[in-house]
Assembly symmetry: C2
Homo-oligomer: 336 residues x 2
């Protein structure tokens, strides 16, 4: 298993990326190919005592920044660490690619360099999220702000396969994020998507109200990229703000600090359940090879987990499963 790593993506590149890669090489027995400026990589590894002796390094030129337009990756910055890494993946010189760089650029690069699966209209970002019960996947978490009902239906198909293959859920409950349970709720897009989805082969449980999402009432939550991103970030923000308030409550004085000790195991359990870093990265769903987006603020552990995510995505043949389960090409080939 060979994972290609964008050594210059994200807020903490290259040091945390290198540390995470080293952890992955050690713990997950994967082979790592780093992409970036060789001299800088070697310098950062040396200064921070990171063992990269087992890793290949492929030289690249520029770096895609948060300020670059997503199209840069296939235009002026084709020599960037992200573009070069994606090209290596497309050429079969690795089994998966992981980057903590710009989401927009990764979507464009994944789509045009690695290419979409035949029949898939749009790549989507699938984000695994914690709930009061089990984790669920939300897609699209931000790749496509404008969607058609068919896109949403395909997001559902891909999310269903992800939860089966990677999370071992036998019959994932697929819900359409909406503002009410009734079929007539929401915009035209959502009403038409509902009509398509209720005829589909996956286990469609209808609309899921946003209120029910954090309780884990669906294993796959489908939304357009704008709405999905709003759900993801409202949830993240609420968890962060509430967590902060609770932390402050425990830090008030000696008695409250004693109190924190008494519930320490509960707090630890809660933290680990809600910790997005445990989930690793967000897969770019609908691309012909595994491309994983690590959180922009990934530290070494989060990045290592993104590499684990990439490894599982490759091992469990998610791409092939999507190819085999797309209803559209199937019915076409029947007619031939």
């Amino acid at each position: 298993m060979k994972v290609i790593v964008d050594a210059f993506g994200g807020d903490n590149a290259p040091v945390e990326i290198l540390k995470g890669s080293a952890l992955a090489a050690e713990e997950l027995s994967v082979q790592i190919t780093l992409v970036g400026n060789k001299a800088e990589i070697k310098k950062a590894a040396e200064e921070n005592n990171i063992d990269i002796s087992s890793m290949d390094i492929v030289e690249s030129g520029s770096i895609i920044t948060a300020f670059d337009s997503p199209m840069t990756v296939i235009k002026s910055k084709q020599d960037s660490s992200m573009a070069v890494g994606l090209s290596l993946l497309a050429d079969g010189r690795g089994d998966a690619f992981v980057s903590a760089g710009s989401t927009g650029a990764l979507v464009v690069g994944g789509t045009f360099i690695v290419k979409r699966i035949k029949g898939i209209k749009r790549a989507a970002i699938g984000t695994l999220m914690p709930s009061a019960e089990n984790p669920f996947i939300l897609l699209d978490a931000g790749a496509n702000v404008e969607c058609t009902p068919e896109f949403l239906n395909q997001f559902a198909i891909m999310g269903d396969i992800y939860m089966r293959q990677i999370m071992n859920v036998a019959s994932p409950r697929v819900g359409l994020a909406n503002i009410g349970e009734e079929e007539t709720k929401g915009t035209e897009l959502y009403q038409e998507a509902y009509a398509l989805m209720k005829e589909a082969n996956y286990n469609f449980i209808g609309n899921i109200e946003a209120r029910d999402i954090p309780y884990g009432k669906a294993d796959v939550v489908v939304a357009d990229g704008f709405t999905g991103n709003i759900i993801l970030k409202t949830y993240e923000g609420a968890a962060g703000a509430l967590g902060g308030m609770i932390k402050a409550m425990f830090k008030k004085n000696a008695l409250t600090m004693l109190s924190a000790l008494l519930v320490k195991s509960g707090i630890d359990e809660f933290k680990s359940k809600m910790d997005y870093k445990e989930f690793g990265g967000a897969p770019l769903m609908g691309i012909t090879k595994p491309v994983i987006k690590a959180h922009g603020s990934s530290d070494a552990r989060a990045f290592k987990n993104a590499i684990r995510q990439a490894k599982m995505f490759a091992e469990k043949n998610v791409v092939a499963e999507i190819e085999n389960n797309l209803p559209i090409p199937k019915s076409k080939s029947n007619q031939e």
Copy 2:
């Protein structure tokens, strides 16, 4: 101050509505006019020892249920407690109207029976929400799933006035809910709304990422009704699910229960900060008279707070302020 009350709206009508009205009559020195089936109201009051002796009762026929289409209120159920109450308000037989009934019907009834303020394109539901800092208003929280940039700009104007008049915020920070801070983020609707809003007279702070909303980084959060409802409910759901997990953590055993005692004041503070019932109802913004939507599951206390909200909305002349601050009619009159 006379507040008209829909005695048959919401999940807990009529008992909790009557109890809440009695509390309001006593604590807030408002005069209450109940609308509903007189015989049932009297029976419920008697059976539950609720003192309604100071209240008028206006007879109505049917009840709008959660299953009725919103248009029912101006069509087949013009004799409903909601429609009759709104007509009383339109006729000047009270200063404000409060209902815990169907949101959709209240929006339609408010718009067509009480009427929109001249120049206002759409009524919006403004929901006051808790944050890690101060409460903020989110609008539209669900009245209009399809919006134009002009609607969003008007929501901003109304929210700004609400926070000034009711919450005493001197210069409310108005943010446009979006998936990124840059002006070019989001759908066409959001990009065009941004362009309009940055020219406006209120204190526009640009796009606010959903992640920052729970931290209280804006006093007014503007969104279309679909997105606003998703934000509201994801936030509610996240707070509920996380609150439940923390509660379970404290209930585990004797030591954790002792721990809960030690942080009791902190927990109480946290609960009261996050308690939507404290905020009372959601005003229907853009209507010529105060119309307040109480939460469907309101108990007596929540309903009393909705009546307090109605009273303040009337006393602080929010409607007149909106009329005076609409930029469109103003510039027209200048040209005359």
